[in-house]
């Protein structure tokens, strides 16, 4: 009996070879027991296929997305900050320090006099006032405003995406 059922299930599922399929078709046509069992299993198969699936609670998607958002928000600051920004800031400061050092060393007069002369008196300290000219200050503020606008735009975009999800 089990063997017959197994053969018929393979036939219904379509997991048998074309030759087997033909042989089973012939068997169903000529054997009454096969025909009745086939009809029974076919009905059962239809019933299985028509089984309803469960419905999750209404807020299921919202709860999943909320859990994901919470998890993302709980990320440590180190992971949340973009590494490119950190590297950019570091590069800016390294470049500034190196430039200042190079400039300072280039303006030091090492052809001083005797050892008795104090070293400090031979140093030519660059005049910083000449660097803080009006155009430089304007460029500095312009850069700050652009950076501020960029960060504000990023913040607004993030808020918009969060609103869309809700």
């Amino acid at each position: 009996m089990n063997n017959m059922e197994e053969i018929l299930w393979n036939y219904i599922d379509g997991t048998c070879t074309p030759d087997e399929h033909k042989a089973i078709s012939d068997q169903i046509a000529k054997d009454e027991a096969y025909r009745l069992k086939y009809k029974e299993l076919l009905n059962l198969n239809k019933a299985f296929m028509a089984m309803e699936i469960d419905e999750p609670p209404m807020a299921f998607t919202y709860n999943v997305m909320e859990a994901i958002r919470t998890e993302n928000a709980q990320q440590p600051l180190k992971a949340a900050i973009n590494n490119k920004i950190i590297m950019g800031i570091a590069a800016f400061f390294v470049l500034t320090i190196v430039s200042v050092l190079v400039y300072a060393l280039a303006h030091v007069s090492f052809a001083g006099g005797s050892h008795s002369t104090p070293v400090a008196s031979n140093l030519k300290v660059p005049d910083l006032k000449s660097f803080l000219s009006k155009p430089v200050i304007q460029v500095f503020f312009f850069f700050d405003v652009v950076l501020g606008l960029y960060l504000f735009d990023t913040y607004l975009r993030r808020k918009k995406v969060q609103k869309e999800i809700q």
Binding site: W9, E40, M49, D54, P56, N63, V64, I68, V161, I165
Partner: protein, 193 residues
């Protein structure tokens, strides 16, 4: 309204930072994932927890999805492992509850149906009742094959089994389901199925 984009397109959008795309994926698969979770844990509250955990795990490892199989197959394998972990943890928490005993309790509760109301209840109700009495693996295989429209190979991938093993298990699961159905409905079974 659900997105008409394919699963792969929604995954690409999610990976590009669009969380709404993932919300669409969740909406698309939530009913089946929840049903599959119900096959393992039996109560709606636990199934909701398992289904939610599965979607969160899938989101975390979405970049690891290779696209070699259907997204649904990959997702169901996550549901399976999440449900197994949940059951293992639950078993540790409630050490005194024996599996067999639990199923006997469920079975005896389910068989106490009201004969007079048989005609008022749908075929689907009795099938769901019978499927609840099956062992989780049997119920999951039947659900994945019929409701999830997964092939034997895909079920094998999701459950970590060979396709032939799934075929044998499916055959046995269908037999057990038929027996449960007949036992629950007695004479009415033949009319209903």
């Amino acid at each position: 309204m659900q997105s008409k984009l394919s699963d792969i397109a929604l995954i690409e959008q999610t990976l590009a930072g669009n969380q709404q795309a993932y919300a669409d994926l969740v909406k698309r698969h939530q009913r089946f994932v929840f049903t599959l979770a119900m096959r393992f844990v039996k109560t709606r509250e636990d199934a909701e927890e398992v289904a939610q955990d599965s979607f969160i795990k899938a989101y975390r490892s979405l970049s690891a999805f290779q696209g070699n199989s259907k997204f649904s197959t990959w997702l169901y394998s996550i549901v399976y492992t999440t449900a197994m972990t949940f059951l293992r943890k639950r078993r540790l928490d409630t050490d005194s509850i024996d599996d067999e005993e639990t199923y006997i309790q469920i079975e005896s509760k389910a068989s106490g149906y009201d004969v007079n109301n048989v005609e008022n209840k749908s075929r689907s109700y009795y099938l769901n009742q019978a499927i609840e009495q099956l062992l989780p693996d049997d119920a999951a295989i039947i659900t994945m094959f019929y409701q999830g429209e997964q092939s034997l190979e895909e079920i094998g991938k999701a459950l970590g089994m060979e396709a032939n093993t799934v075929k044998v298990k499916l055959f046995r699961a269908r037999q057990r389901l038929k027996e449960k159905l007949e036992r629950n409905l007695k004479h009415e079974a033949k009319e209903l199925i």
